[in-house]
Protein backbone atom coordinates (compact mmCIF):
# COMPACT_ATOMS: atom_id res chain seq x y z
CA UNK A 1 0.00 0.00 0.00
CA UNK A 2 1.39 3.40 -0.99
CA UNK A 3 0.85 6.38 1.22
CA UNK A 4 0.48 9.17 -1.31
CA UNK A 5 0.50 12.11 1.05
CA UNK A 6 -0.21 15.16 -1.07
CA UNK A 7 -0.46 18.69 0.32
CA UNK A 8 -4.29 18.65 0.23
CA UNK A 9 -4.42 15.32 2.04
CA UNK A 10 -1.99 16.52 4.70
CA UNK A 11 -3.94 19.76 5.13
CA UNK A 12 -7.33 18.11 5.49
CA UNK A 13 -5.90 15.54 7.92
CA UNK A 14 -4.37 18.38 9.97
CA UNK A 15 -7.67 20.28 9.82
CA UNK A 16 -9.45 17.23 11.22
CA UNK A 17 -6.83 16.88 13.95
CA UNK A 18 -7.14 20.50 15.08
CA UNK A 19 -10.69 21.56 14.20
CA UNK A 20 -12.29 18.11 14.57
CA UNK A 21 -12.79 18.19 18.35
CA UNK A 22 -14.15 21.75 18.22
CA UNK A 23 -16.71 20.80 15.59
CA UNK A 24 -17.56 17.63 17.53
CA UNK A 25 -17.89 19.52 20.82
CA UNK A 26 -20.02 22.18 19.18
CA UNK A 27 -22.26 19.49 17.67
CA UNK A 28 -22.62 17.94 21.15
CA UNK A 29 -23.53 21.36 22.56
CA UNK A 30 -26.10 21.97 19.83
CA UNK A 31 -27.40 18.45 20.48
CA UNK A 32 -28.01 19.25 24.16
CA UNK A 33 -29.63 22.58 23.31
CA UNK A 34 -31.94 21.08 20.69
CA UNK A 35 -32.80 18.20 23.04
CA UNK A 36 -33.71 20.73 25.73
CA UNK A 37 -35.86 22.71 23.29
CA UNK A 38 -37.62 19.50 22.24
CA UNK A 39 -38.44 18.85 25.91
CA UNK A 40 -39.64 22.41 26.46
CA UNK A 41 -36.58 23.42 28.48
CA UNK A 42 -34.16 26.30 28.01
CA UNK A 43 -31.09 24.08 27.97
CA UNK A 44 -27.39 24.57 28.77
CA UNK A 45 -25.08 26.94 26.87
CA UNK A 46 -23.88 25.71 23.45
CA UNK A 47 -20.32 25.56 24.83
CA UNK A 48 -21.37 23.35 27.79
CA UNK A 49 -19.55 20.20 26.50
CA UNK A 50 -16.28 22.19 26.49
CA UNK A 51 -16.93 23.36 30.07
CA UNK A 52 -17.58 19.74 31.04
CA UNK A 53 -14.32 18.50 29.56
CA UNK A 54 -12.33 21.40 31.05
CA UNK A 55 -13.81 20.58 34.44
CA UNK A 56 -13.01 16.89 34.07
CA UNK A 57 -9.39 17.83 33.37
CA UNK A 58 -9.33 19.80 36.62
CA UNK A 59 -10.64 16.90 38.69
CA UNK A 60 -8.57 14.51 40.75
CA UNK A 61 -7.41 11.48 38.73
CA UNK A 62 -8.94 8.35 40.22
CA UNK A 63 -8.35 5.12 38.32
CA UNK A 64 -9.14 1.57 39.24
CA UNK A 65 -5.89 0.34 37.72
CA UNK A 66 -3.04 1.77 35.68
CA UNK A 67 -3.96 -0.26 32.57
CA UNK A 68 -7.31 1.46 32.27
CA UNK A 69 -5.79 4.84 31.43
CA UNK A 70 -3.59 3.23 28.81
CA UNK A 71 -6.58 1.57 27.13
CA UNK A 72 -8.68 4.73 27.11
CA UNK A 73 -5.77 6.77 25.71
CA UNK A 74 -5.30 4.08 23.03
CA UNK A 75 -8.99 4.43 22.22
CA UNK A 76 -8.54 8.18 21.76
CA UNK A 77 -5.36 7.79 19.68
CA UNK A 78 -6.84 5.16 17.38
CA UNK A 79 -9.98 7.27 16.97
CA UNK A 80 -7.78 10.18 15.90
CA UNK A 81 -5.82 7.91 13.53
CA UNK A 82 -9.12 6.69 12.02
CA UNK A 83 -10.18 10.22 11.19
CA UNK A 84 -6.72 11.31 10.04
CA UNK A 85 -6.54 8.36 7.61
CA UNK A 86 -10.06 9.09 6.41
CA UNK A 87 -9.55 12.81 5.83
CA UNK A 88 -6.15 12.16 4.25
CA UNK A 89 -8.04 10.13 1.63
CA UNK A 90 -6.66 6.72 2.52
CA UNK A 91 -8.13 3.24 2.13
CA UNK A 92 -11.69 2.91 3.43
CA UNK A 93 -11.15 -0.64 4.72
CA UNK A 94 -8.11 0.48 6.73
CA UNK A 95 -10.21 3.31 8.17
CA UNK A 96 -13.02 0.94 9.16
CA UNK A 97 -10.73 -1.52 10.91
CA UNK A 98 -8.87 1.25 12.73
CA UNK A 99 -12.26 2.47 13.98
CA UNK A 100 -13.03 -1.02 15.23
CA UNK A 101 -9.67 -1.13 17.01
CA UNK A 102 -10.48 2.13 18.78
CA UNK A 103 -13.84 0.79 19.93
CA UNK A 104 -12.30 -2.49 21.07
CA UNK A 105 -9.84 -0.54 23.25
CA UNK A 106 -12.83 1.08 24.92
CA UNK A 107 -14.32 -2.36 25.57
CA UNK A 108 -11.03 -3.60 27.06
CA UNK A 109 -10.82 -0.48 29.24
CA UNK A 110 -14.30 -1.18 30.56
CA UNK A 111 -13.53 -4.86 31.14
CA UNK A 112 -10.30 -4.06 32.98
CA UNK A 113 -12.13 -2.30 35.80
CA UNK A 114 -13.84 -5.42 37.19
CA UNK A 115 -16.94 -3.35 37.94
CA UNK A 116 -20.15 -5.24 37.11
CA UNK A 117 -21.74 -2.15 35.55
CA UNK A 118 -18.75 -1.49 33.31
CA UNK A 119 -18.50 -5.16 32.38
CA UNK A 120 -22.14 -5.47 31.35
CA UNK A 121 -21.64 -2.20 29.48
CA UNK A 122 -18.61 -3.72 27.73
CA UNK A 123 -20.61 -6.79 26.76
CA UNK A 124 -23.36 -4.62 25.35
CA UNK A 125 -20.75 -2.55 23.50
CA UNK A 126 -19.52 -5.77 21.87
CA UNK A 127 -23.09 -6.58 20.83
CA UNK A 128 -23.41 -3.08 19.40
CA UNK A 129 -20.21 -3.58 17.39
CA UNK A 130 -21.68 -6.84 16.13
CA UNK A 131 -24.87 -5.00 15.11
CA UNK A 132 -23.33 -2.17 13.11
CA UNK A 133 -20.12 -3.67 11.74
CA UNK A 134 -21.70 -5.69 8.85
CA UNK A 135 -23.45 -2.56 7.57
CA UNK A 136 -20.22 -0.52 7.67
CA UNK A 137 -18.41 -3.21 5.70
CA UNK A 138 -21.22 -3.45 3.13
CA UNK A 139 -20.97 0.30 2.76
CA UNK A 140 -17.29 0.07 1.86
CA UNK A 141 -18.11 -2.65 -0.67
CA UNK A 142 -20.94 -0.58 -2.17
CA UNK A 143 -18.77 2.53 -2.48
CA UNK A 144 -16.13 0.38 -4.17
CA UNK A 145 -18.62 -1.01 -6.69
CA UNK A 146 -19.80 2.46 -7.68
CA UNK A 147 -16.48 4.33 -7.56
CA UNK A 148 -14.09 1.44 -8.41
CA UNK A 149 -11.77 2.35 -5.53
CA UNK A 150 -11.50 1.89 -1.77
CA UNK A 151 -9.54 5.13 -1.51
CA UNK A 152 -11.46 8.04 -0.01
CA UNK A 153 -9.62 10.51 -2.23
CA UNK A 154 -10.81 8.65 -5.35
CA UNK A 155 -14.39 8.40 -4.06
CA UNK A 156 -14.47 12.13 -3.30
CA UNK A 157 -13.25 13.10 -6.77
CA UNK A 158 -15.12 10.39 -8.64
CA UNK A 159 -17.72 11.59 -11.16
CA UNK A 160 -20.18 8.96 -9.93
CA UNK A 161 -22.85 10.29 -7.58
CA UNK A 162 -22.98 7.52 -4.98
CA UNK A 163 -26.30 8.34 -3.33
CA UNK A 164 -28.63 7.05 -6.09
CA UNK A 165 -27.05 3.65 -6.78
CA UNK A 166 -26.44 3.22 -3.02
CA UNK A 167 -29.78 4.47 -1.70
CA UNK A 168 -30.46 1.30 0.30
CA UNK A 169 -27.01 1.32 1.84
CA UNK A 170 -27.49 4.99 2.75
CA UNK A 171 -30.69 4.16 4.63
CA UNK A 172 -28.93 1.27 6.38
CA UNK A 173 -26.06 3.54 7.39
CA UNK A 174 -28.48 6.12 8.80
CA UNK A 175 -29.95 3.29 10.89
CA UNK A 176 -26.66 2.14 12.40
CA UNK A 177 -25.63 5.77 12.92
CA UNK A 178 -28.09 5.75 15.83
CA UNK A 179 -26.04 2.96 17.41
CA UNK A 180 -22.74 4.74 16.72
CA UNK A 181 -23.93 8.10 18.06
CA UNK A 182 -25.08 6.31 21.25
CA UNK A 183 -28.64 7.52 20.84
CA UNK A 184 -31.86 5.97 22.10
CA UNK A 185 -33.23 3.39 21.36
CA UNK A 186 -29.74 1.88 20.89
CA UNK A 187 -27.74 3.54 23.67
CA UNK A 188 -27.34 0.21 25.46
CA UNK A 189 -23.74 0.41 26.61
CA UNK A 190 -23.58 4.06 27.58
CA UNK A 191 -25.90 7.00 27.30
CA UNK A 192 -25.40 10.68 27.93
CA UNK A 193 -28.67 10.78 29.81
CA UNK A 194 -28.78 10.22 33.54
CA UNK A 195 -30.42 7.46 35.54
CA UNK A 196 -30.27 4.19 33.79
CA UNK A 197 -30.07 0.61 34.92
CA UNK A 198 -26.31 0.33 34.25
CA UNK A 199 -25.30 3.56 36.05
CA UNK A 200 -23.10 4.82 33.19
CA UNK A 201 -22.31 1.58 31.39
CA UNK A 202 -18.80 1.39 29.94
CA UNK A 203 -17.82 4.74 31.44
CA UNK A 204 -18.91 3.93 35.01
CA UNK A 205 -15.36 3.50 36.31
CA UNK A 206 -13.78 6.37 34.37
CA UNK A 207 -13.43 9.76 35.98
CA UNK A 208 -11.57 13.02 35.55
CA UNK A 209 -8.95 13.05 32.83
CA UNK A 210 -9.84 9.55 31.56
CA UNK A 211 -13.48 10.49 31.07
CA UNK A 212 -12.41 13.71 29.35
CA UNK A 213 -10.27 11.71 26.90
CA UNK A 214 -13.21 9.47 26.15
CA UNK A 215 -15.50 12.45 25.60
CA UNK A 216 -13.00 14.02 23.17
CA UNK A 217 -12.65 10.71 21.32
CA UNK A 218 -16.44 10.66 21.01
CA UNK A 219 -16.32 14.13 19.40
CA UNK A 220 -13.66 12.97 16.96
CA UNK A 221 -15.73 9.89 16.17
CA UNK A 222 -18.90 11.88 15.47
CA UNK A 223 -17.12 14.17 13.01
CA UNK A 224 -15.59 11.16 11.26
CA UNK A 225 -18.97 9.38 11.07
CA UNK A 226 -20.57 12.44 9.50
CA UNK A 227 -17.63 12.55 7.08
CA UNK A 228 -18.54 9.00 6.12
CA UNK A 229 -22.07 10.18 5.36
CA UNK A 230 -20.61 12.98 3.23
CA UNK A 231 -19.04 10.38 0.90
CA UNK A 232 -22.50 9.56 -0.49
CA UNK A 233 -22.88 13.12 -1.78
CA UNK A 234 -19.37 13.96 -2.93
CA UNK A 235 -18.76 13.92 -6.68
CA UNK A 236 -15.98 16.46 -6.95
CA UNK A 237 -18.16 19.55 -7.36
CA UNK A 238 -18.46 22.33 -4.79
CA UNK A 239 -22.27 22.51 -4.83
CA UNK A 240 -22.57 18.81 -4.01
CA UNK A 241 -20.09 19.39 -1.19
CA UNK A 242 -22.47 22.01 0.25
CA UNK A 243 -25.40 19.61 -0.20
CA UNK A 244 -23.33 16.93 1.58
CA UNK A 245 -22.62 19.13 4.60
CA UNK A 246 -26.29 20.14 4.85
CA UNK A 247 -27.28 16.47 4.60
CA UNK A 248 -24.85 15.62 7.45
CA UNK A 249 -26.39 18.28 9.69
CA UNK A 250 -29.88 17.12 8.75
CA UNK A 251 -28.96 13.52 9.58
CA UNK A 252 -27.60 14.69 12.96
CA UNK A 253 -30.90 16.48 13.64
CA UNK A 254 -32.86 13.35 12.75
CA UNK A 255 -30.71 11.34 15.19
CA UNK A 256 -31.48 13.84 17.96
CA UNK A 257 -35.18 13.57 17.14
CA UNK A 258 -35.03 9.75 17.29
CA UNK A 259 -33.10 10.00 20.58
CA UNK A 260 -35.90 12.02 22.14
CA UNK A 261 -38.75 10.04 20.63
CA UNK A 262 -37.73 6.53 21.70
CA UNK A 263 -37.08 4.68 24.92
CA UNK A 264 -34.15 2.29 25.13
CA UNK A 265 -34.64 -1.13 23.51
CA UNK A 266 -33.14 -4.46 24.52
CA UNK A 267 -29.97 -5.71 22.86
CA UNK A 268 -31.92 -8.46 21.07
CA UNK A 269 -33.93 -5.83 19.22
CA UNK A 270 -30.79 -3.83 18.43
CA UNK A 271 -29.05 -6.83 16.91
CA UNK A 272 -32.08 -8.14 15.03
CA UNK A 273 -33.19 -4.81 13.62
CA UNK A 274 -29.65 -3.74 12.64
CA UNK A 275 -29.05 -7.03 10.79
CA UNK A 276 -32.51 -6.87 9.24
CA UNK A 277 -31.74 -3.41 7.88
CA UNK A 278 -28.30 -4.55 6.77
CA UNK A 279 -29.66 -7.51 4.83
CA UNK A 280 -32.79 -5.91 3.37
CA UNK A 281 -31.37 -2.50 2.52
CA UNK A 282 -27.62 -3.14 2.27
CA UNK A 283 -27.69 -6.67 0.86
CA UNK A 284 -30.50 -6.13 -1.64
CA UNK A 285 -28.90 -2.85 -2.75
CA UNK A 286 -25.62 -4.66 -3.46
CA UNK A 287 -27.44 -7.46 -5.29
CA UNK A 288 -29.29 -5.03 -7.56
CA UNK A 289 -26.05 -3.15 -8.15
CA UNK A 290 -24.41 -6.40 -9.20
CA UNK A 291 -27.18 -7.23 -11.68
CA UNK A 292 -27.19 -3.71 -13.12
CA UNK A 293 -23.45 -3.98 -13.63
CA UNK A 294 -23.80 -7.41 -15.21
CA UNK A 295 -26.31 -6.14 -17.77
CA UNK A 296 -24.29 -3.02 -18.36
CA UNK A 297 -26.99 -0.61 -17.18
CA UNK A 298 -24.67 1.12 -14.72
Amino acid sequence: MEFDFTATAALSALAYLVIGPFVGGLLAGVDRKITAKMQGRYGPPILQPFYDVRKLLEKEAVTVNKGQDFYVMSCLIFMIITGVLFFAGENLLLVIFTLTTATIFLVIAAYSSNSPYAQIGAERELLQIMSYEPMVLLMAVGLYMVNHSFYVKDIIHSEAFSLFPLGGIFVGYLFILTVKFRKSPFDLSMSHHAHQELVKGVTTEFSGRTLAALEVSHWYENVFLLGFLFLFFANGTWYMAVVGVVACLLAYFVEILIDNAYARMKWQFTLKSAWFMTITFGGVNLMLLYFFKMFGIL
Binding site: R32, A36, Q39, G40, R41, Y42, G43, P44, P45, Q48, Y51, D52, R54, K55, E58, K59, E60, A61, V62, A194, H195, Q196, V199, K200, T203, T204, E205, F206, S207, G208, R209, L211
Partner: protein, 212 residues
Protein backbone atom coordinates in the same frame (compact mmCIF):
# COMPACT_ATOMS: atom_id res chain seq x y z
CA UNK B 1 -11.30 31.00 36.52
CA UNK B 2 -12.13 27.46 37.51
CA UNK B 3 -14.39 25.38 35.32
CA UNK B 4 -15.66 23.28 38.24
CA UNK B 5 -18.36 25.87 38.81
CA UNK B 6 -19.55 25.75 35.19
CA UNK B 7 -20.39 22.08 35.04
CA UNK B 8 -21.58 20.76 38.41
CA UNK B 9 -22.53 17.11 38.08
CA UNK B 10 -24.66 15.70 40.85
CA UNK B 11 -25.21 12.39 42.51
CA UNK B 12 -28.40 12.19 44.51
CA UNK B 13 -28.80 9.75 47.37
CA UNK B 14 -31.96 9.15 49.37
CA UNK B 15 -30.94 8.48 52.98
CA UNK B 16 -34.18 7.71 54.80
CA UNK B 17 -36.27 10.41 53.24
CA UNK B 18 -40.06 10.31 52.98
CA UNK B 19 -39.55 10.96 49.20
CA UNK B 20 -40.86 14.52 49.54
CA UNK B 21 -37.42 16.07 49.01
CA UNK B 22 -36.54 13.49 46.32
CA UNK B 23 -39.52 14.57 44.26
CA UNK B 24 -38.46 18.19 44.68
CA UNK B 25 -34.90 17.30 43.58
CA UNK B 26 -36.27 15.71 40.43
CA UNK B 27 -38.57 18.70 39.97
CA UNK B 28 -35.40 20.80 39.53
CA UNK B 29 -34.73 18.95 36.28
CA UNK B 30 -38.20 19.54 34.82
CA UNK B 31 -38.90 22.27 32.22
CA UNK B 32 -40.31 24.45 35.01
CA UNK B 33 -36.91 24.88 36.72
CA UNK B 34 -34.48 23.27 34.21
CA UNK B 35 -31.35 22.94 36.34
CA UNK B 36 -29.42 21.88 33.23
CA UNK B 37 -29.23 25.49 32.09
CA UNK B 38 -26.48 25.88 34.72
CA UNK B 39 -24.76 22.78 33.34
CA UNK B 40 -26.16 20.72 36.24
CA UNK B 41 -26.50 17.05 35.36
CA UNK B 42 -27.90 14.31 37.58
CA UNK B 43 -25.27 11.64 36.84
CA UNK B 44 -26.16 8.82 39.22
CA UNK B 45 -22.49 7.82 39.28
CA UNK B 46 -20.25 8.90 42.18
CA UNK B 47 -17.11 8.78 40.03
CA UNK B 48 -18.55 11.38 37.65
CA UNK B 49 -20.09 13.59 40.31
CA UNK B 50 -18.90 16.85 41.90
CA UNK B 51 -21.82 17.42 44.24
CA UNK B 52 -23.30 14.87 46.62
CA UNK B 53 -26.97 15.68 47.22
CA UNK B 54 -28.38 13.83 50.21
CA UNK B 55 -32.04 13.86 51.16
CA UNK B 56 -33.37 12.39 54.38
CA UNK B 57 -31.57 11.50 57.58
CA UNK B 58 -28.83 8.91 57.83
CA UNK B 59 -29.87 5.68 59.51
CA UNK B 60 -27.81 2.87 60.97
CA UNK B 61 -28.23 0.77 57.82
CA UNK B 62 -26.90 3.27 55.30
CA UNK B 63 -24.01 4.91 57.15
CA UNK B 64 -21.57 2.80 55.13
CA UNK B 65 -23.40 3.56 51.87
CA UNK B 66 -23.22 7.33 52.41
CA UNK B 67 -19.54 7.07 53.35
CA UNK B 68 -18.75 4.89 50.34
CA UNK B 69 -20.44 7.21 47.84
CA UNK B 70 -18.59 10.16 49.37
CA UNK B 71 -15.23 8.37 49.20
CA UNK B 72 -15.74 7.30 45.57
CA UNK B 73 -16.20 10.88 44.41
CA UNK B 74 -13.01 12.48 43.07
CA UNK B 75 -11.84 15.82 44.52
CA UNK B 76 -12.93 18.60 44.50
CA UNK B 77 -16.35 17.63 45.85
CA UNK B 78 -19.02 19.12 48.08
CA UNK B 79 -21.96 17.75 50.02
CA UNK B 80 -25.36 19.44 50.00
CA UNK B 81 -27.85 18.28 52.63
CA UNK B 82 -31.36 18.82 51.25
CA UNK B 83 -34.35 19.03 53.58
CA UNK B 84 -34.60 19.33 57.33
CA UNK B 85 -34.07 15.57 57.87
CA UNK B 86 -30.73 15.68 56.05
CA UNK B 87 -29.64 18.79 57.93
CA UNK B 88 -30.51 17.67 61.47
CA UNK B 89 -32.51 14.46 61.44
CA UNK B 90 -35.79 16.41 61.44
CA UNK B 91 -38.81 14.72 62.98
CA UNK B 92 -36.99 11.39 62.78
CA UNK B 93 -34.17 12.66 64.97
CA UNK B 94 -35.25 10.69 68.05
CA UNK B 95 -35.92 7.44 66.17
CA UNK B 96 -34.04 4.40 67.46
CA UNK B 97 -32.53 3.67 64.03
CA UNK B 98 -31.65 7.22 63.00
CA UNK B 99 -28.09 8.39 63.34
CA UNK B 100 -28.99 12.04 62.65
CA UNK B 101 -28.24 14.55 59.92
CA UNK B 102 -25.79 13.86 57.13
CA UNK B 103 -23.07 15.79 58.98
CA UNK B 104 -22.91 13.03 61.61
CA UNK B 105 -21.27 10.83 58.95
CA UNK B 106 -19.58 13.01 56.32
CA UNK B 107 -18.67 16.73 56.21
CA UNK B 108 -21.54 18.86 54.83
CA UNK B 109 -20.86 22.11 52.96
CA UNK B 110 -24.35 23.49 52.33
CA UNK B 111 -27.54 22.98 54.36
CA UNK B 112 -30.85 23.45 52.56
CA UNK B 113 -33.60 23.24 55.18
CA UNK B 114 -37.28 22.82 54.38
CA UNK B 115 -39.94 20.14 54.56
CA UNK B 116 -39.92 19.50 51.74
CA UNK B 117 -37.17 21.79 50.46
CA UNK B 118 -38.51 23.80 47.52
CA UNK B 119 -36.85 23.39 44.11
CA UNK B 120 -35.82 27.07 44.17
CA UNK B 121 -34.09 26.47 47.51
CA UNK B 122 -32.36 23.34 46.22
CA UNK B 123 -31.02 25.10 43.10
CA UNK B 124 -29.99 28.03 45.29
CA UNK B 125 -28.18 25.66 47.64
CA UNK B 126 -26.28 24.03 44.76
CA UNK B 127 -25.32 27.41 43.31
CA UNK B 128 -24.11 28.51 46.79
CA UNK B 129 -22.13 25.29 46.99
CA UNK B 130 -20.32 26.19 43.76
CA UNK B 131 -18.35 28.86 45.63
CA UNK B 132 -17.21 26.21 48.11
CA UNK B 133 -16.36 23.93 45.18
CA UNK B 134 -14.24 26.66 43.57
CA UNK B 135 -12.48 27.27 46.90
CA UNK B 136 -11.77 23.57 47.31
CA UNK B 137 -10.42 23.41 43.77
CA UNK B 138 -8.13 26.37 44.49
CA UNK B 139 -6.78 24.59 47.59
CA UNK B 140 -6.18 21.33 45.75
CA UNK B 141 -2.58 20.23 45.11
CA UNK B 142 -1.48 21.48 41.67
CA UNK B 143 -1.27 18.16 39.84
CA UNK B 144 -3.76 15.41 40.36
CA UNK B 145 -0.95 12.88 40.67
CA UNK B 146 0.34 14.68 43.73
CA UNK B 147 -3.18 14.50 45.17
CA UNK B 148 -3.03 10.72 45.26
CA UNK B 149 0.54 10.95 46.55
CA UNK B 150 -0.73 13.16 49.35
CA UNK B 151 -3.31 10.51 50.17
CA UNK B 152 -0.56 7.88 50.33
CA UNK B 153 1.52 10.15 52.54
CA UNK B 154 -1.47 10.49 54.85
CA UNK B 155 -1.77 6.71 55.09
CA UNK B 156 1.95 6.49 55.89
CA UNK B 157 1.52 9.10 58.62
CA UNK B 158 -1.25 7.01 60.13
CA UNK B 159 1.06 4.00 60.11
CA UNK B 160 3.65 6.10 61.90
CA UNK B 161 1.09 7.04 64.53
CA UNK B 162 0.43 3.39 65.24
CA UNK B 163 4.13 2.76 65.61
CA UNK B 164 4.50 5.61 68.06
CA UNK B 165 1.65 4.24 70.12
CA UNK B 166 3.44 0.92 70.55
CA UNK B 167 6.85 2.46 70.96
CA UNK B 168 9.26 0.20 72.81
CA UNK B 169 7.88 -3.05 71.44
CA UNK B 170 8.90 -4.65 68.18
CA UNK B 171 6.40 -6.03 65.73
CA UNK B 172 7.25 -9.61 66.70
CA UNK B 173 6.71 -8.89 70.40
CA UNK B 174 3.35 -7.35 69.61
CA UNK B 175 2.39 -10.39 67.55
CA UNK B 176 3.33 -12.64 70.47
CA UNK B 177 1.25 -10.53 72.85
CA UNK B 178 -1.73 -10.73 70.54
CA UNK B 179 -1.29 -14.50 70.16
CA UNK B 180 -1.19 -14.86 73.96
CA UNK B 181 -4.38 -12.84 74.26
CA UNK B 182 -6.09 -15.04 71.72
CA UNK B 183 -5.07 -18.17 73.60
CA UNK B 184 -6.33 -16.75 76.90
CA UNK B 185 -9.61 -15.73 75.20
CA UNK B 186 -10.02 -19.20 73.82
CA UNK B 187 -9.37 -20.64 77.26
CA UNK B 188 -11.83 -18.32 78.91
CA UNK B 189 -14.56 -19.58 76.62
CA UNK B 190 -13.96 -23.08 77.92
CA UNK B 191 -14.80 -22.00 81.46
CA UNK B 192 -18.44 -21.54 80.51
CA UNK B 193 -20.57 -24.56 81.16
CA UNK B 194 -23.52 -25.19 78.82
CA UNK B 195 -26.05 -24.10 81.48
CA UNK B 196 -24.19 -20.81 81.99
CA UNK B 197 -24.33 -20.15 78.29
CA UNK B 198 -28.09 -20.68 78.16
CA UNK B 199 -28.56 -18.34 81.08
CA UNK B 200 -26.46 -15.72 79.36
CA UNK B 201 -28.41 -15.99 76.11
CA UNK B 202 -31.79 -15.64 77.75
CA UNK B 203 -30.48 -12.65 79.68
CA UNK B 204 -29.49 -11.04 76.40
CA UNK B 205 -32.92 -11.64 74.96
CA UNK B 206 -34.60 -10.01 77.92
CA UNK B 207 -32.32 -7.02 77.61
CA UNK B 208 -33.21 -6.73 73.96
CA UNK B 209 -36.91 -6.75 74.75
CA UNK B 210 -36.53 -4.04 77.34
CA UNK B 211 -34.71 -1.82 74.87
CA UNK B 212 -37.45 -2.15 72.29
Amino acid sequence: MSYVTKSPWIIHYDGSSCNGCDIEVLACLTPMYDAERFGIINTGNPKHADIFLVTGSVNEQNISVVKQIYEQMPEPKIVVAVGICATSGGIFRECYNVKGGVDTVIPVDVYVPGCAARPEAIIDGIVKGLDVLAEKHANMPKSSVSASDAAEEKVKDEDMAIEVRYYGKTAEELDEDIADERVSDAQSVKYYSSSDKDADDSGDKNNGKEEV
